[in-house]
Protein backbone atom coordinates (compact mmCIF):
# COMPACT_ATOMS: atom_id res chain seq x y z
CA UNK A 1 0.00 0.00 0.00
CA UNK A 2 1.18 3.51 -0.76
CA UNK A 3 1.22 5.33 2.53
CA UNK A 4 2.20 8.62 0.95
CA UNK A 5 1.69 9.54 -2.69
CA UNK A 6 2.33 12.99 -4.13
CA UNK A 7 1.52 13.77 -7.74
CA UNK A 8 2.45 16.97 -9.61
CA UNK A 9 2.52 18.86 -6.33
CA UNK A 10 3.15 22.57 -6.49
CA UNK A 11 3.11 24.99 -3.57
CA UNK A 12 3.76 28.69 -3.46
CA UNK A 13 3.46 31.07 -0.50
CA UNK A 14 1.10 33.94 -1.02
CA UNK A 15 2.76 37.00 -2.46
CA UNK A 16 5.83 35.10 -3.71
CA UNK A 17 6.77 34.82 -7.34
CA UNK A 18 8.51 31.42 -7.12
CA UNK A 19 7.24 28.02 -6.11
CA UNK A 20 8.57 26.68 -2.82
CA UNK A 21 7.81 23.12 -3.79
CA UNK A 22 7.38 21.44 -7.13
CA UNK A 23 7.37 17.66 -6.76
CA UNK A 24 6.33 15.67 -9.86
CA UNK A 25 6.05 12.42 -7.92
CA UNK A 26 6.91 11.02 -4.49
CA UNK A 27 5.72 7.67 -3.18
CA UNK A 28 6.42 6.07 0.19
CA UNK A 29 5.14 2.58 0.76
CA UNK A 30 4.01 0.94 3.96
CA UNK A 31 6.89 -0.03 6.24
CA UNK A 32 9.31 1.89 4.05
CA UNK A 33 10.64 4.23 6.74
CA UNK A 34 11.84 7.24 4.83
CA UNK A 35 14.48 9.79 5.67
CA UNK A 36 13.71 13.13 4.06
CA UNK A 37 16.86 15.17 3.92
CA UNK A 38 17.37 18.74 2.91
CA UNK A 39 19.16 21.86 4.08
CA UNK A 40 17.36 24.52 6.10
CA UNK A 41 14.92 26.51 4.02
CA UNK A 42 14.52 23.79 1.41
CA UNK A 43 10.82 23.46 2.14
CA UNK A 44 10.88 20.47 4.53
CA UNK A 45 8.47 21.98 7.03
CA UNK A 46 6.22 23.23 4.26
CA UNK A 47 6.03 19.71 2.89
CA UNK A 48 5.15 18.36 6.35
CA UNK A 49 2.38 20.94 6.73
CA UNK A 50 1.06 19.90 3.31
CA UNK A 51 1.10 16.24 4.30
CA UNK A 52 -0.61 17.01 7.62
CA UNK A 53 -3.34 18.87 5.74
CA UNK A 54 -2.61 22.21 7.36
CA UNK A 55 -1.47 23.85 4.14
CA UNK A 56 -3.08 23.26 0.75
CA UNK A 57 -1.09 22.98 -2.50
CA UNK A 58 -1.63 25.28 -5.44
CA UNK A 59 -1.76 22.28 -7.75
CA UNK A 60 -1.48 18.52 -7.67
CA UNK A 61 -2.70 15.74 -5.47
CA UNK A 62 -1.81 14.39 -2.06
CA UNK A 63 -2.89 10.86 -1.24
CA UNK A 64 -2.38 9.42 2.21
CA UNK A 65 -3.31 5.76 2.73
CA UNK A 66 -4.66 5.96 -0.84
CA UNK A 67 -7.16 8.65 0.06
CA UNK A 68 -6.95 12.09 -1.46
CA UNK A 69 -6.86 14.54 1.43
CA UNK A 70 -7.54 17.44 -0.91
CA UNK A 71 -11.05 16.17 -1.55
CA UNK A 72 -11.82 16.50 2.15
CA UNK A 73 -13.02 19.65 3.88
CA UNK A 74 -11.02 21.32 6.65
CA UNK A 75 -12.71 19.43 9.41
CA UNK A 76 -12.36 16.07 7.67
CA UNK A 77 -8.64 16.77 7.15
CA UNK A 78 -8.26 17.59 10.86
CA UNK A 79 -10.00 14.32 11.68
CA UNK A 80 -7.87 12.39 9.21
CA UNK A 81 -4.72 13.80 10.79
CA UNK A 82 -5.95 12.94 14.26
CA UNK A 83 -6.85 9.40 13.17
CA UNK A 84 -3.88 8.43 11.01
CA UNK A 85 -0.86 10.64 11.73
CA UNK A 86 1.37 10.87 14.77
CA UNK A 87 3.57 13.97 14.89
CA UNK A 88 6.84 14.57 16.71
CA UNK A 89 8.31 18.07 16.77
CA UNK A 90 11.88 19.22 17.01
CA UNK A 91 11.37 20.10 20.68
CA UNK A 92 8.81 21.44 23.15
CA UNK A 93 6.43 18.64 22.28
CA UNK A 94 4.64 18.48 25.59
CA UNK A 95 1.95 20.54 27.27
CA UNK A 96 3.74 21.67 30.43
CA UNK A 97 0.61 21.55 32.56
CA UNK A 98 -0.32 17.95 31.88
CA UNK A 99 1.23 14.87 33.41
CA UNK A 100 3.33 12.53 31.28
CA UNK A 101 0.46 10.05 30.96
CA UNK A 102 -2.06 12.77 30.04
CA UNK A 103 0.32 14.11 27.40
CA UNK A 104 0.65 10.65 25.86
CA UNK A 105 -3.12 10.07 25.97
CA UNK A 106 -4.00 13.40 24.27
CA UNK A 107 -4.60 12.06 20.70
CA UNK A 108 -7.13 9.54 22.02
CA UNK A 109 -9.33 12.44 23.14
CA UNK A 110 -9.44 13.93 19.65
CA UNK A 111 -9.71 10.70 17.66
CA UNK A 112 -12.23 7.99 18.36
CA UNK A 113 -10.30 5.65 16.06
CA UNK A 114 -7.05 5.95 18.00
CA UNK A 115 -8.92 5.65 21.27
CA UNK A 116 -10.45 2.43 20.03
CA UNK A 117 -7.07 1.11 18.90
CA UNK A 118 -5.48 2.02 22.18
CA UNK A 119 -8.11 0.12 24.13
CA UNK A 120 -7.50 0.92 27.78
CA UNK A 121 -5.79 4.30 27.31
CA UNK A 122 -4.02 4.33 30.65
CA UNK A 123 -2.53 0.86 30.14
CA UNK A 124 -1.53 1.48 26.52
CA UNK A 125 0.17 4.72 27.50
CA UNK A 126 2.02 3.06 30.37
CA UNK A 127 3.09 0.20 28.14
CA UNK A 128 4.47 2.57 25.50
CA UNK A 129 6.31 4.58 28.12
CA UNK A 130 7.70 1.35 29.55
CA UNK A 131 8.99 0.34 26.11
CA UNK A 132 10.50 3.79 25.63
CA UNK A 133 12.42 3.36 28.88
CA UNK A 134 10.48 5.97 30.83
CA UNK A 135 10.02 4.21 34.13
CA UNK A 136 7.47 4.58 36.87
CA UNK A 137 9.58 7.03 38.87
CA UNK A 138 9.90 9.48 35.99
CA UNK A 139 6.18 9.41 35.29
CA UNK A 140 5.34 11.14 38.56
CA UNK A 141 7.51 14.13 37.71
CA UNK A 142 6.17 17.26 35.98
CA UNK A 143 7.10 16.98 32.30
CA UNK A 144 8.99 20.25 32.49
CA UNK A 145 11.56 18.58 34.74
CA UNK A 146 12.41 15.90 32.19
CA UNK A 147 15.55 16.05 30.08
CA UNK A 148 15.14 16.89 26.39
CA UNK A 149 15.80 13.25 25.45
CA UNK A 150 13.14 12.06 27.88
CA UNK A 151 10.67 14.65 26.59
CA UNK A 152 11.28 13.51 23.02
CA UNK A 153 10.60 9.91 24.01
CA UNK A 154 7.31 10.96 25.62
CA UNK A 155 6.51 12.65 22.30
CA UNK A 156 7.20 9.34 20.53
CA UNK A 157 4.78 7.57 22.85
CA UNK A 158 2.18 10.22 22.09
CA UNK A 159 2.72 9.89 18.33
CA UNK A 160 2.44 6.12 18.53
CA UNK A 161 -0.56 5.70 20.80
CA UNK A 162 -3.61 4.33 19.04
CA UNK A 163 -1.49 2.90 16.20
CA UNK A 164 -1.64 5.65 13.55
CA UNK A 165 -0.36 4.47 10.15
CA UNK A 166 1.99 7.41 9.60
CA UNK A 167 4.53 8.93 11.98
CA UNK A 168 5.91 12.31 10.93
CA UNK A 169 9.02 13.36 12.82
CA UNK A 170 10.33 16.88 12.20
CA UNK A 171 14.01 16.95 13.22
CA UNK A 172 13.24 15.29 16.55
CA UNK A 173 16.88 14.57 17.33
CA UNK A 174 18.39 17.97 16.64
CA UNK A 175 18.59 18.79 20.34
CA UNK A 176 20.04 15.42 21.33
CA UNK A 177 23.68 14.28 21.61
CA UNK A 178 24.78 11.38 19.39
CA UNK A 179 24.23 8.65 22.03
CA UNK A 180 20.75 9.86 22.87
CA UNK A 181 20.08 10.29 19.17
CA UNK A 182 20.94 6.70 18.26
CA UNK A 183 19.00 5.47 21.24
CA UNK A 184 16.01 7.56 20.22
CA UNK A 185 16.00 6.31 16.64
CA UNK A 186 16.41 2.69 17.71
CA UNK A 187 13.42 2.94 20.07
CA UNK A 188 11.33 4.83 17.51
CA UNK A 189 11.98 2.15 14.88
CA UNK A 190 11.27 -0.71 17.25
CA UNK A 191 7.93 0.65 18.44
CA UNK A 192 6.80 1.83 14.98
CA UNK A 193 7.55 -1.58 13.48
CA UNK A 194 5.82 -3.33 16.36
CA UNK A 195 2.57 -1.65 15.47
CA UNK A 196 3.04 -1.30 11.74
CA UNK A 197 3.44 2.48 11.47
CA UNK A 198 5.48 4.00 8.67
CA UNK A 199 7.96 6.74 9.64
CA UNK A 200 8.69 9.87 7.64
CA UNK A 201 11.71 11.36 9.32
CA UNK A 202 12.79 14.86 8.36
CA UNK A 203 16.26 16.11 9.12
CA UNK A 204 19.30 17.90 7.75
CA UNK A 205 21.62 15.64 9.76
CA UNK A 206 23.40 13.15 7.42
CA UNK A 207 24.55 10.95 10.35
CA UNK A 208 21.08 9.55 10.80
CA UNK A 209 20.59 8.49 7.22
CA UNK A 210 22.21 5.01 7.49
CA UNK A 211 19.41 3.86 9.84
CA UNK A 212 16.81 4.23 7.12
CA UNK A 213 15.90 1.88 4.25
CA UNK A 214 14.80 4.80 2.09
CA UNK A 215 16.47 8.17 1.73
CA UNK A 216 14.78 11.04 -0.05
CA UNK A 217 16.90 14.04 -0.91
CA UNK A 218 14.46 16.89 -1.06
CA UNK A 219 16.56 19.06 -3.38
CA UNK A 220 16.51 16.18 -5.87
CA UNK A 221 12.77 15.55 -5.88
CA UNK A 222 11.90 19.20 -5.60
CA UNK A 223 12.19 20.89 -8.97
CA UNK A 224 11.18 24.34 -7.80
Amino acid sequence: MNVIELQQLRFRWKGQSQDTLNIPELIVQQGEHAFLRGPSGSGKTTLLNLLAGILLPVEGDIKLLEQSTLKMNTKQRDCFRADHIGIIFQQFNLLPYLSMLDNVALPCHFSARRKQHAGAIQESAEQLLEHLKLDQKLRQRPVTELSVGQQQRVAVARALIGKPEIIIADEPTSALDSDARNDFIRLLFREAEAQGSTILFVSHDPHIAPHFPRIIELPEVNQA
Partner: protein, 419 residues
Protein backbone atom coordinates in the same frame (compact mmCIF):
# COMPACT_ATOMS: atom_id res chain seq x y z
CA UNK B 1 -14.54 16.99 28.62
CA UNK B 2 -10.92 16.98 27.47
CA UNK B 3 -11.24 20.68 26.62
CA UNK B 4 -12.47 21.45 30.12
CA UNK B 5 -9.60 19.47 31.58
CA UNK B 6 -7.08 21.24 29.33
CA UNK B 7 -8.52 24.64 30.20
CA UNK B 8 -8.44 23.91 33.88
CA UNK B 9 -4.84 22.65 33.90
CA UNK B 10 -3.73 25.47 31.64
CA UNK B 11 -5.36 28.05 33.92
CA UNK B 12 -3.82 26.44 36.98
CA UNK B 13 -0.44 26.55 35.28
CA UNK B 14 -0.76 30.32 34.82
CA UNK B 15 -2.47 30.90 38.16
CA UNK B 16 -0.34 33.74 39.49
CA UNK B 17 -1.09 36.14 36.67
CA UNK B 18 -4.69 34.99 36.43
CA UNK B 19 -5.23 35.49 40.15
CA UNK B 20 -5.05 39.25 39.59
CA UNK B 21 -7.58 39.07 36.76
CA UNK B 22 -9.84 36.97 38.95
CA UNK B 23 -9.48 39.47 41.78
CA UNK B 24 -10.28 42.46 39.58
CA UNK B 25 -13.45 40.76 38.38
CA UNK B 26 -14.32 39.74 41.94
CA UNK B 27 -13.93 43.33 43.14
CA UNK B 28 -16.02 44.78 40.34
CA UNK B 29 -18.74 42.18 40.91
CA UNK B 30 -18.58 42.86 44.65
CA UNK B 31 -18.96 46.58 43.96
CA UNK B 32 -21.92 45.98 41.70
CA UNK B 33 -23.65 43.72 44.21
CA UNK B 34 -22.62 45.96 47.11
CA UNK B 35 -24.11 49.06 45.53
CA UNK B 36 -27.32 47.19 44.85
CA UNK B 37 -27.35 46.03 48.47
CA UNK B 38 -26.63 49.49 49.88
CA UNK B 39 -29.35 50.94 47.67
CA UNK B 40 -31.90 48.51 49.06
CA UNK B 41 -30.73 48.96 52.65
CA UNK B 42 -30.67 52.76 52.36
CA UNK B 43 -34.18 52.78 50.98
CA UNK B 44 -35.42 50.42 53.64
CA UNK B 45 -33.72 52.38 56.39
CA UNK B 46 -35.08 55.61 54.98
CA UNK B 47 -38.60 54.28 54.67
CA UNK B 48 -38.53 53.08 58.25
CA UNK B 49 -37.35 56.40 59.69
CA UNK B 50 -40.80 56.73 61.12
CA UNK B 51 -43.00 53.74 61.68
CA UNK B 52 -46.05 53.06 63.78
CA UNK B 53 -47.22 56.64 63.22
CA UNK B 54 -50.39 56.86 61.15
CA UNK B 55 -50.49 60.60 60.47
CA UNK B 56 -48.16 63.57 60.74
CA UNK B 57 -50.02 66.84 61.23
CA UNK B 58 -48.70 70.39 60.82
CA UNK B 59 -49.51 73.76 59.33
CA UNK B 60 -50.72 73.67 55.75
CA UNK B 61 -47.87 73.32 53.27
CA UNK B 62 -46.87 70.18 51.33
CA UNK B 63 -46.58 66.66 52.73
CA UNK B 64 -42.89 66.40 51.79
CA UNK B 65 -42.06 69.70 53.46
CA UNK B 66 -44.03 68.72 56.56
CA UNK B 67 -42.08 65.47 56.74
CA UNK B 68 -38.77 67.25 56.16
CA UNK B 69 -39.08 69.58 59.11
CA UNK B 70 -41.06 67.44 61.52
CA UNK B 71 -39.23 64.13 61.05
CA UNK B 72 -35.92 64.93 59.34
CA UNK B 73 -35.39 68.29 61.09
CA UNK B 74 -34.54 69.87 57.75
CA UNK B 75 -35.77 73.39 57.03
CA UNK B 76 -38.32 75.24 59.05
CA UNK B 77 -42.05 75.13 59.49
CA UNK B 78 -43.94 77.72 57.50
CA UNK B 79 -46.26 78.21 60.39
CA UNK B 80 -47.16 76.82 63.78
CA UNK B 81 -50.45 75.25 64.75
CA UNK B 82 -52.50 76.24 67.76
CA UNK B 83 -52.59 74.25 70.97
CA UNK B 84 -56.38 74.21 70.72
CA UNK B 85 -56.36 72.48 67.36
CA UNK B 86 -53.89 69.98 68.73
CA UNK B 87 -56.12 69.32 71.73
CA UNK B 88 -59.15 68.98 69.47
CA UNK B 89 -57.61 66.13 67.53
CA UNK B 90 -55.76 64.62 70.47
CA UNK B 91 -59.16 64.01 72.05
CA UNK B 92 -60.69 62.66 68.83
CA UNK B 93 -62.51 59.37 69.28
CA UNK B 94 -60.43 57.50 66.65
CA UNK B 95 -57.13 58.69 68.04
CA UNK B 96 -55.14 56.36 70.29
CA UNK B 97 -52.20 58.64 71.07
CA UNK B 98 -50.54 61.86 69.92
CA UNK B 99 -47.06 63.26 70.35
CA UNK B 100 -46.63 67.04 70.12
CA UNK B 101 -43.50 68.44 68.47
CA UNK B 102 -42.16 71.94 68.93
CA UNK B 103 -39.15 73.04 66.93
CA UNK B 104 -37.22 76.27 66.51
CA UNK B 105 -34.24 76.17 68.84
CA UNK B 106 -30.90 74.45 68.51
CA UNK B 107 -27.81 73.44 70.39
CA UNK B 108 -24.47 73.67 68.57
CA UNK B 109 -26.11 72.92 65.25
CA UNK B 110 -28.32 70.13 66.57
CA UNK B 111 -32.05 70.76 66.53
CA UNK B 112 -33.92 71.00 69.79
CA UNK B 113 -37.27 69.28 69.87
CA UNK B 114 -39.84 70.09 72.50
CA UNK B 115 -42.22 67.26 73.29
CA UNK B 116 -43.54 65.22 76.20
CA UNK B 117 -42.56 61.81 77.55
CA UNK B 118 -45.09 60.11 75.24
CA UNK B 119 -42.49 60.66 72.53
CA UNK B 120 -40.27 57.94 73.98
CA UNK B 121 -43.28 55.67 74.28
CA UNK B 122 -44.75 56.02 70.81
CA UNK B 123 -42.00 57.10 68.45
CA UNK B 124 -41.00 54.03 66.44
CA UNK B 125 -38.46 53.41 63.73
CA UNK B 126 -37.23 50.43 61.71
CA UNK B 127 -39.87 47.71 62.02
CA UNK B 128 -41.66 49.08 65.06
CA UNK B 129 -38.55 49.47 67.18
CA UNK B 130 -39.00 51.68 70.24
CA UNK B 131 -36.57 54.33 71.33
CA UNK B 132 -34.53 53.07 74.23
CA UNK B 133 -32.11 54.68 76.60
CA UNK B 134 -28.42 53.90 76.49
CA UNK B 135 -28.04 55.80 79.74
CA UNK B 136 -30.29 57.68 82.16
CA UNK B 137 -34.01 58.20 81.80
CA UNK B 138 -36.66 60.41 80.30
CA UNK B 139 -36.89 64.08 81.27
CA UNK B 140 -39.14 64.98 84.23
CA UNK B 141 -38.39 68.61 85.09
CA UNK B 142 -38.69 71.71 82.98
CA UNK B 143 -34.95 72.16 82.45
CA UNK B 144 -34.07 68.59 81.62
CA UNK B 145 -32.95 67.20 78.26
CA UNK B 146 -32.59 63.82 76.55
CA UNK B 147 -29.89 63.61 73.86
CA UNK B 148 -29.78 61.59 70.69
CA UNK B 149 -26.83 59.20 70.41
CA UNK B 150 -24.83 61.30 67.95
CA UNK B 151 -25.29 64.52 69.91
CA UNK B 152 -23.94 62.89 73.07
CA UNK B 153 -21.06 61.19 71.25
CA UNK B 154 -19.91 64.13 69.12
CA UNK B 155 -20.22 66.75 71.86
CA UNK B 156 -19.04 64.34 74.53
CA UNK B 157 -21.92 64.81 76.96
CA UNK B 158 -22.77 62.59 79.87
CA UNK B 159 -25.71 62.40 82.25
CA UNK B 160 -25.62 65.57 84.32
CA UNK B 161 -23.92 67.71 81.65
CA UNK B 162 -25.37 71.20 81.37
CA UNK B 163 -26.26 72.57 77.97
CA UNK B 164 -27.41 75.99 76.80
CA UNK B 165 -29.93 76.20 73.98
CA UNK B 166 -29.67 78.78 71.23
CA UNK B 167 -32.47 80.54 69.50
CA UNK B 168 -32.95 79.57 65.86
CA UNK B 169 -31.62 76.65 63.91
CA UNK B 170 -28.15 77.81 62.88
CA UNK B 171 -25.00 76.38 64.37
CA UNK B 172 -23.64 79.75 65.44
CA UNK B 173 -26.51 81.62 66.93
CA UNK B 174 -25.78 84.83 68.80
CA UNK B 175 -28.86 84.74 70.91
CA UNK B 176 -28.52 82.00 73.46
CA UNK B 177 -30.77 81.15 76.36
CA UNK B 178 -27.82 81.40 78.73
CA UNK B 179 -29.79 82.14 81.84
CA UNK B 180 -31.73 78.89 81.60
CA UNK B 181 -29.35 75.92 81.11
CA UNK B 182 -30.65 72.38 80.73
CA UNK B 183 -29.36 69.26 82.46
CA UNK B 184 -28.95 66.01 80.54
CA UNK B 185 -31.00 63.23 82.15
CA UNK B 186 -30.90 60.62 79.42
CA UNK B 187 -29.04 59.53 76.30
CA UNK B 188 -30.75 57.42 73.65
CA UNK B 189 -29.32 54.41 71.86
CA UNK B 190 -28.41 54.95 68.19
CA UNK B 191 -31.35 54.55 65.81
CA UNK B 192 -29.89 55.46 62.44
CA UNK B 193 -32.59 58.15 62.14
CA UNK B 194 -32.62 61.94 62.71
CA UNK B 195 -33.46 61.20 66.36
CA UNK B 196 -29.73 60.61 66.87
CA UNK B 197 -29.09 64.25 66.00
CA UNK B 198 -31.79 65.74 68.18
CA UNK B 199 -31.85 67.31 71.64
CA UNK B 200 -35.18 66.47 73.28
CA UNK B 201 -36.66 68.74 75.94
CA UNK B 202 -40.14 69.25 77.40
CA UNK B 203 -42.69 71.58 75.82
CA UNK B 204 -42.65 73.45 79.13
CA UNK B 205 -38.89 73.91 78.83
CA UNK B 206 -39.33 75.50 75.43
CA UNK B 207 -41.97 77.83 76.86
CA UNK B 208 -39.83 78.67 79.91
CA UNK B 209 -36.83 79.86 77.92
CA UNK B 210 -39.05 82.10 75.86
CA UNK B 211 -41.21 83.69 78.61
CA UNK B 212 -39.09 86.81 78.70
CA UNK B 213 -38.73 86.94 74.91
CA UNK B 214 -40.89 88.68 72.41
CA UNK B 215 -40.79 88.49 68.59
CA UNK B 216 -37.76 86.24 68.64
CA UNK B 217 -35.53 88.42 70.86
CA UNK B 218 -35.08 88.92 74.61
CA UNK B 219 -36.95 91.96 75.93
CA UNK B 220 -34.27 94.35 77.26
CA UNK B 221 -34.35 94.90 81.02
CA UNK B 222 -37.01 92.28 81.51
CA UNK B 223 -35.61 89.00 82.65
CA UNK B 224 -37.38 86.24 84.51
CA UNK B 225 -35.16 83.95 86.54
CA UNK B 226 -35.16 80.26 85.71
CA UNK B 227 -36.74 79.16 88.98
CA UNK B 228 -39.58 81.61 88.66
CA UNK B 229 -40.15 80.80 85.02
CA UNK B 230 -40.45 77.13 85.85
CA UNK B 231 -43.28 77.87 88.27
CA UNK B 232 -45.27 79.93 85.81
CA UNK B 233 -48.14 78.43 83.82
CA UNK B 234 -46.19 77.00 80.89
CA UNK B 235 -49.01 75.79 78.70
CA UNK B 236 -47.74 76.37 75.14
CA UNK B 237 -49.99 78.35 72.86
CA UNK B 238 -48.60 76.82 69.69
CA UNK B 239 -46.65 73.74 68.61
CA UNK B 240 -44.99 72.93 65.28
CA UNK B 241 -46.54 69.57 64.48
CA UNK B 242 -47.84 66.40 66.06
CA UNK B 243 -47.72 62.68 65.37
CA UNK B 244 -50.92 60.67 65.51
CA UNK B 245 -51.44 56.99 66.28
CA UNK B 246 -54.89 55.62 65.55
CA UNK B 247 -56.90 52.92 67.26
CA UNK B 248 -57.43 51.24 63.91
CA UNK B 249 -55.48 52.16 60.80
CA UNK B 250 -58.63 51.87 58.73
CA UNK B 251 -59.69 55.35 59.84
CA UNK B 252 -56.44 57.00 58.63
CA UNK B 253 -57.86 58.34 55.38
CA UNK B 254 -61.05 59.59 56.99
CA UNK B 255 -59.20 61.38 59.76
CA UNK B 256 -56.72 62.76 57.24
CA UNK B 257 -59.60 64.32 55.33
CA UNK B 258 -61.22 65.61 58.46
CA UNK B 259 -57.98 67.33 59.52
CA UNK B 260 -57.37 68.74 56.06
CA UNK B 261 -60.89 70.18 56.03
CA UNK B 262 -60.70 71.52 59.59
CA UNK B 263 -62.39 74.90 59.38
CA UNK B 264 -60.86 76.69 62.39
CA UNK B 265 -57.26 76.47 61.18
CA UNK B 266 -55.54 75.47 57.93
CA UNK B 267 -53.93 72.14 58.78
CA UNK B 268 -52.26 69.40 56.80
CA UNK B 269 -52.27 65.72 57.69
CA UNK B 270 -49.82 63.50 55.81
CA UNK B 271 -49.51 59.72 55.66
CA UNK B 272 -45.85 59.13 56.54
CA UNK B 273 -45.41 56.15 54.20
CA UNK B 274 -46.73 58.03 51.19
CA UNK B 275 -44.73 61.17 51.97
CA UNK B 276 -41.54 59.15 52.62
CA UNK B 277 -41.92 57.38 49.29
CA UNK B 278 -42.41 60.71 47.55
CA UNK B 279 -39.36 62.16 49.26
CA UNK B 280 -37.27 59.09 48.35
CA UNK B 281 -38.21 59.49 44.73
CA UNK B 282 -36.94 63.03 44.87
CA UNK B 283 -33.59 62.26 46.52
CA UNK B 284 -33.19 58.71 45.16
CA UNK B 285 -31.54 59.86 41.91
CA UNK B 286 -28.11 58.91 43.21
CA UNK B 287 -29.11 55.27 42.75
CA UNK B 288 -28.97 55.63 39.01
CA UNK B 289 -25.61 57.37 39.13
CA UNK B 290 -24.15 54.69 41.40
CA UNK B 291 -25.42 51.98 39.10
CA UNK B 292 -23.90 53.57 36.03
CA UNK B 293 -20.55 53.91 37.78
CA UNK B 294 -20.51 50.28 38.87
CA UNK B 295 -21.39 49.10 35.40
CA UNK B 296 -18.30 50.92 34.17
CA UNK B 297 -16.23 49.34 36.92
CA UNK B 298 -17.45 45.95 35.77
CA UNK B 299 -16.58 46.69 32.17
CA UNK B 300 -13.12 47.80 33.29
CA UNK B 301 -12.70 44.48 35.11
CA UNK B 302 -13.76 42.52 32.04
CA UNK B 303 -11.46 44.57 29.82
CA UNK B 304 -8.67 43.61 32.23
CA UNK B 305 -9.55 39.98 31.60
CA UNK B 306 -9.58 40.57 27.85
CA UNK B 307 -6.12 42.15 28.07
CA UNK B 308 -4.81 39.16 29.99
CA UNK B 309 -6.27 36.72 27.48
CA UNK B 310 -4.84 38.69 24.56
CA UNK B 311 -1.43 38.96 26.17
CA UNK B 312 -1.25 35.19 26.62
CA UNK B 313 -1.92 34.58 22.94
CA UNK B 314 1.75 34.64 21.99
CA UNK B 315 3.03 32.50 24.81
CA UNK B 316 0.29 29.98 24.10
CA UNK B 317 1.10 29.59 20.41
CA UNK B 318 3.14 26.48 21.04
CA UNK B 319 0.34 25.01 23.13
CA UNK B 320 -2.07 25.55 20.26
CA UNK B 321 0.31 23.99 17.70
CA UNK B 322 0.68 20.90 19.88
CA UNK B 323 -3.07 20.61 20.20
CA UNK B 324 -3.49 21.01 16.46
CA UNK B 325 -0.90 18.29 15.89
CA UNK B 326 -2.74 15.81 18.08
CA UNK B 327 -5.94 16.47 16.18
CA UNK B 328 -7.64 19.54 17.64
CA UNK B 329 -9.70 21.62 15.20
CA UNK B 330 -9.47 25.41 15.13
CA UNK B 331 -12.87 25.53 16.76
CA UNK B 332 -11.48 23.49 19.66
CA UNK B 333 -8.91 26.26 20.09
CA UNK B 334 -11.71 28.83 20.02
CA UNK B 335 -13.69 26.92 22.64
CA UNK B 336 -10.59 26.72 24.86
CA UNK B 337 -10.54 30.51 25.13
CA UNK B 338 -14.27 30.70 25.75
CA UNK B 339 -14.02 28.10 28.49
CA UNK B 340 -11.13 29.97 30.04
CA UNK B 341 -13.12 33.21 30.14
CA UNK B 342 -16.13 31.33 31.48
CA UNK B 343 -14.16 29.83 34.35
CA UNK B 344 -12.47 33.13 35.25
CA UNK B 345 -15.74 35.07 35.14
CA UNK B 346 -17.64 32.45 37.10
CA UNK B 347 -15.00 32.09 39.79
CA UNK B 348 -14.54 35.87 39.90
CA UNK B 349 -18.27 36.43 40.33
CA UNK B 350 -18.56 33.80 43.04
CA UNK B 351 -15.57 35.30 44.83
CA UNK B 352 -17.25 38.71 44.51
CA UNK B 353 -20.37 37.30 46.14
CA UNK B 354 -18.30 35.90 48.99
CA UNK B 355 -16.60 39.29 49.38
CA UNK B 356 -19.92 41.11 49.70
CA UNK B 357 -21.34 38.54 52.05
CA UNK B 358 -18.30 38.58 54.33
CA UNK B 359 -18.07 42.40 54.29
CA UNK B 360 -21.69 42.69 55.37
CA UNK B 361 -21.17 40.12 58.12
CA UNK B 362 -18.17 42.08 59.39
CA UNK B 363 -19.95 45.43 59.09
CA UNK B 364 -23.20 44.32 60.75
CA UNK B 365 -22.25 44.55 64.46
CA UNK B 366 -20.19 47.68 63.94
CA UNK B 367 -22.91 49.56 62.02
CA UNK B 368 -25.51 48.48 64.55
CA UNK B 369 -23.44 49.78 67.47
CA UNK B 370 -22.24 52.94 65.78
CA UNK B 371 -25.25 54.02 63.73
CA UNK B 372 -28.10 51.94 65.06
CA UNK B 373 -28.75 50.57 61.60
CA UNK B 374 -29.74 46.95 61.39
CA UNK B 375 -28.23 45.60 58.18
CA UNK B 376 -29.81 42.53 56.70
CA UNK B 377 -27.45 39.64 56.05
CA UNK B 378 -26.51 39.57 52.38
CA UNK B 379 -27.72 36.52 50.53
CA UNK B 380 -27.91 36.34 46.72
CA UNK B 381 -31.35 37.21 45.39
CA UNK B 382 -32.69 36.36 41.98
CA UNK B 383 -31.45 39.70 40.63
CA UNK B 384 -27.95 38.93 41.91
CA UNK B 385 -27.90 35.60 40.09
CA UNK B 386 -29.10 37.37 36.95
CA UNK B 387 -26.24 39.80 37.38
CA UNK B 388 -23.81 36.91 37.63
CA UNK B 389 -25.29 35.54 34.43
CA UNK B 390 -24.74 38.93 32.80
CA UNK B 391 -21.09 39.04 33.91
CA UNK B 392 -20.40 35.55 32.60
CA UNK B 393 -22.26 36.34 29.37
CA UNK B 394 -20.24 39.52 28.83
CA UNK B 395 -17.02 37.64 29.58
CA UNK B 396 -17.92 35.06 26.94
CA UNK B 397 -18.64 37.77 24.39
CA UNK B 398 -15.34 39.50 25.21
CA UNK B 399 -13.39 36.24 24.91
CA UNK B 400 -14.54 35.61 21.37
CA UNK B 401 -11.89 38.10 20.22
CA UNK B 402 -8.80 36.26 21.57
CA UNK B 403 -10.51 32.96 20.73
CA UNK B 404 -10.99 34.03 17.15
CA UNK B 405 -7.43 35.34 16.83
CA UNK B 406 -5.99 32.14 18.33
CA UNK B 407 -8.01 29.83 16.12
CA UNK B 408 -7.10 31.81 13.01
CA UNK B 409 -3.46 31.82 13.98
CA UNK B 410 -3.52 28.10 14.64
CA UNK B 411 -4.62 27.69 11.04
CA UNK B 412 -1.72 29.78 9.76
CA UNK B 413 0.93 28.46 12.12
CA UNK B 414 -0.01 24.89 11.45
CA UNK B 415 2.51 22.50 12.89
CA UNK B 416 5.25 25.07 13.02
CA UNK B 417 5.94 25.48 16.69
CA UNK B 418 6.87 29.05 17.34
CA UNK B 419 8.43 29.84 20.65
Amino acid sequence: MILLKLTWHSLWNRRTSLMLTLLSIAISVALLLGVEYIRKEAKQSFMSTLSGTDLVVGARSGPVQLLLYSVFRIGNATNNISWNSYQHFADHKWVDWTVPISLGDSHKGYRVLGTNSDYFLHYRHADQRNLSFADGKSFAGVYEAVLGAEVARKLNYQIGSEIVLAHGAGSTSFSEHKNKPFTVTGILKPTGTPVDRTVHVTLEGIEAIHVDWKNGAPVPGFEIKAERAAKMALQPETITAFLVGLKTRATAFRLQREINEYSREPLLAALPGVALAELWRAIGQFETVLRIITVFVLIAGLLGMLTTLLSTLNERRREMAILRAVGAHPHHVFVLFLLEAFIIALLGSLLGMVLVSVSVLIAQPWVAAEYGLYLHTWWPQLTDWLLLLLVVGLALIFSTLPGWIASRRSLQDGLTVRI
